[in-house]
């Protein structure tokens, strides 16, 4: 009997290995990304130039940052819809404080601090009061977005401070600073998820919250920390965007919320929690950014780009589902 069950589990595992877990999801995305690169480089001679690649990396940094921190939060079973609105508020705060004579880096500190506070509020409402995170962060999104509009009267505020604008448009050894910032955040988060006890807790809490509770894992503090990190990444992304544009528009970031969530899901993170990786999210961000860039180079209207993005998302989620079904068969 035990021999029998051994052989059963062995055979299953071999199939499992073939399309095993998270690694295969990331591989499928990588393959798709490479195909995308090949197709666009055939269609447009300009596409595969260093300059264009760097431009893509700089363009996706803003969405990439928010999606990076959103990934562990969703893996742990949380959700943050307020990030993009926070990005808007952060830019606005920096511009207004700077105009009022506050030193620029102090203004940046205040913006990040406000971000952290909003994250803390999200976290407390969602964990201690056990409110649904979808509703909580939808509400804070509305509050934060509204506040940015109130503060500016809906107007775009200029923000030109030489040292500051370098964050958005400068280069370090030829690489755009936003891209460096983004990659740094991804490497850090990947290390935390993979190599720390905290990372283990994230997957356990999201995969089976009830088991994690009975095991005695600090589920509340972990989620609280993740909400704060997510909000901070929103504020940081907003800082970067304002620096890049040389101006802070209260609603500049809000339309990108759906792209952020789409990238996380496209990257193989399960909305139900327990499954996902930041590298998957990074690839998804690159795929979406490359699609935009390539289609723009091919002179496809931006309306069609929206349609394409939607189709890719459905395809990706469909393939992922197929893979999981194959695995559990």
């Amino acid at each position: 009997m035990s021999v029998n069950s051994a052989s059963v589990s062995k055979r299953r595992f071999d199939i499992g290995k073939l399309v095993s877990g998270q690694a295969s999801g990331v591989l499928i995305l990588l393959a798709f990304y490479i195909v995308l690169l090949i197709v666009f480089s055939i269609l447009s001679p300009f596409f595969l130039s260093v300059r264009n690649m760097l431009a893509i990396s700089s363009n996706v940094a803003f969405i990439g940052l928010m999606a990076a921190a959103g990934t562990p939060l969703i893996i742990a079973g949380g959700l943050d819809l307020s990030v993009a609105a926070l990005a808007g508020l952060a830019g606005v705060l920096i511009a207004l404080l700077n105009a009022a004579g506050v030193p620029i880096w102090l203004a940046v500190g205040v913006a990040l601090g406000v971000g952290a506070m909003v994250g803390l509020a999200n976290g407390v409402l969602a964990t201690t009061l056990k409110l649904n995170p979808l509703i909580v962060t939808l509400a804070t999104m509305s509050i934060v977005g509204g506040t940015a509009l109130i503060l500016t009267g809906g107007l775009t505020k200029p923000l030109m401070v030489p040292g500051f604008n370098w964050i958005g448009s400068g280069r370090l050894l030829g690489v755009p600073v936003p891209a460096i910032l983004m990659i740094t955040v991804y490497v850090l988060l990947a290390l935390v998820l993979r190599a720390t006890h905290f990372g283990r807790y994230v997957y356990a809490i999201g995969g089976n919250p009830e088991a994690a509770r009975l095991i005695g894992l600090p589920a509340k503090s972990v989620l609280l920390a993740l909400y704060v990190v997510s909000a901070l990444s929103g504020a940081l992304a907003g800082t970067m965007l304002a620096a890049m544009l040389g101006a802070a528009a209260p609603a500049a970031a809000s339309p990108h919320l759906l792209t952020v969530i789409a990238a996380i899901i496209l990257g193989g993170t399960s909305l139900a929690g327990g499954r996902g990786s930041v590298w998957g999210t990074l690839l998804a961000v690159l795929i979406l950014g490359t699609l935009n860039n390539g289609l723009t180079l091919l002179d496809v209207s931006s309306f069609w780009q929206d349609v394409t993005r939607g189709v890719v998302l459905i395809l990706a989620v469909g393939v992922d589902q197929l893979r999981l079904q194959l695995q559990s068969r």
């Binding site: 009997m1 069950s5 589990s9 994690a212 009975l214 095991i215």
Partner: protein, 512 residues
């Protein structure tokens, strides 16, 4: 009244295996017209499997089902209900936001309605008619069912089955969620139905109930028919021995006298919780295994949760760990006090399905493996390899995702997770539910070993043989109270535990 020469339903020569393990072996089971048949057997005897085959949830590997003498193939629960066979699960399953009438007519709405539009007045009159049949015309058909007491919800469930013109009702532990008063109500209804010609299969562990309500008793043991009795002509003892048989395999470790002489690690005085647990007293000593036996619904499923701090509100009485007052605000505090808890709900509350075997084994004490916040896979794997060989966990290796393991091996992992040197007191709920005999033996051996090293162990189980074989001391819980207490459980057998719930003695020994 019942006519077994022409049974309403006859299942003949039923065989069923799961993964090479035979769970039903040539079982023949008959249901006469107008009779209540009790189906009895220990955990894993095959009762549920047999009834799931009858109601189309499972398919028999071999064997035939006849209805009125004609062969029928029941391929799904829907097909079963069309054949007039209705299954009522243990937990009351009604839709609380709907009215009584809507709940009753849930299955026949299309027939009553006009096209896609549901016909409220037809539903209400149909519901009234069925309730009257049951003698419950006083229940308002317009009341939201969530507002009714559980006992009446159960009646509505029966009404729902009857509205779909069920002739055979299969009920699994129907009184588990009911109070004594509600149970009495249910019995009146069931007898009334029987007298009107309905056939009822009644699955229960409560022998006293079975003797009160049934006409016939059929006993399964290890997947085989172990006896069929006319209730009037048999006794509890005869039925018990048919259920338990003679266990030839040595499952349990020999325990010596010294168990139970260590210091008290955990004690409870007057522990109560809501209306589920009443005034419980117990001491668990270092080096001993205290087993508490209770049937489904006896409160056994709540006790561990209350001690471990999962249930916190409305806990009264006193608890102490090593003499210090103990009142946990949650599992984290319980764990810090040196208490571990293995849940009965392995799938939903035990395993971390996507994580590896090694991580599952490390989960309760993750910070042991690695340092300064950094996790160490190497240390996790080393720890896992040790347990894999000690407990004979069948896996391809420490890195295999937990979800690929069989139930028995998952259970070994869930138990091993808490067998940690820092644990003074470990509570195990149904430690071997749904686990094959080999894995049971391995788990029992480890528990005995850790007790010998000084751990205090509390086993809560509805498996009488498990409690009888494993415990140094034993108690029986029934309707939320401890009804028997043996200071030395070496001579206690499963029949004595079951009998304690059957006769419900009002007096009980003091712990002190």
């Amino acid at each position: 009244m019942n006519d077994l020469a022409h049974p309403l339903v006859r299942m003949a020569g039923i065989n069923k295996s799961f993964g090479g393990v035979k769970v039903l072996d040539d079982v023949t089971f008959e249901i006469g017209r107008g009779e209540i048949v009790a189906l009895l057997g220990a955990n894993g005897a095959g009762k549920s499997t047999l009834m799931k085959i009858l109601t189309g949830v499972y398919h028999a590997d071999d064997g035939t089902t006849f209805r009125n003498g004609t062969e029928v193939t029941i391929t799904s629960p829907r097909a079963a209900s069309r054949a007039g066979i209705s299954f009522l699960p243990q937990e009351v399953s009604v839709i609380p936001e709907m009215t009584v009438a809507e709940n009753i007519c849930l299955g026949i709405m299309p027939e009553l309605g006009r096209g896609p539009v549901s016909n409220t007045s037809a539903m209400r009159s149909k519901a009234r008619e069925v309730l009257a049949e049951l003698g419950f015309e006083h229940v308002s058909v317009d009341a939201l069912i969530g507002s009714l007491p559980v006992g009446e919800q159960r009646i509505v469930e029966i009404a729902r089955a009857l509205s779909g013109s069920a002739e055979v009702l299969v009920m699994d532990e129907p009184t588990a969620a009911l109070s004594e008063k509600d149970s009495a109500l249910l019995f009146t209804v069931l007898k009334r139905l029987r007298d009107a010609g309905a056939s009822i299969v009644y699955i229960s562990h409560y022998l006293s109930e079975v003797f009160e309500i049934s006409d016939r008793i059929v006993v399964l043991r290890d997947g085989r028919l172990a006896g069929a009795f006319s209730t009037k002509e048999t006794t509890i003892d005869v039925v018990l021995s048919a259920m338990l048989g003679r266990n030839t395999q040595k499952l349990f470790e020999e325990r010596d006298d010294s168990a139970g002489s260590g210091p008290v690690v955990f004690s409870a005085r007057g522990l109560s919780w809501k209306d589920k647990l009443h005034d419980l007293n117990m001491d668990v000593r270092s080096g001993e295994i205290l087993g508490i036996f209770g049937l489904v619904g006896s409160g056994i499923e709540h006790l561990g949760r209350v001690i471990y701090g999962v249930e916190r509100s409305r806990v009264t009485g006193e608890m102490a760990v090593s003499g210090k007052p103990y009142l946990p605000t949650g599992p984290i505090q319980a764990k810090a006090a040196g208490i571990g808890f293995v849940t009965a709900e392995r799938k939903t509350e035990g395993i971390l399905a996507e994580l590896s075997v090694a991580q599952n084994l490390a989960a309760s004490f993750w910070t042991d493996y690695g340092s300064r916040g950094l996790a160490s896979s190497a240390q996790e794997n080393k720890h896992a390899l040790n347990w894999i060989s000690r407990l004979g966990i069948v896996t391809t290796g420490p890195g295999q995702p937990m979800r690929f393991l069989s139930g028995g091996n998952q259970q070994k992992v869930c138990v091993a997770r808490w067998l940690h040197p820092s644990m003074m007191f470990v509570i195990l709920e149904e430690p071997t539910r749904g686990v094959d005999i080999g894995a049971r033996k391995d788990i029992y051996k480890q528990l005995a070993g850790f007790a010998d090293e000084g751990m205090a162990i509390l086993v809560l189980s509805s498996d009488a043989e498990e409690i009888a074989g494993l415990s140094d001391r034993a108690m029986v819980i029934d309707r939320g109270r401890i009804v028997r207490n043996w200071q030395d459980a070496r001579e206690v057998d499963a029949a004595a535990l079951l009998a304690a719930t059957a006769d419900n003695p009002a007096t009980l020994e003091e712990v002190r």
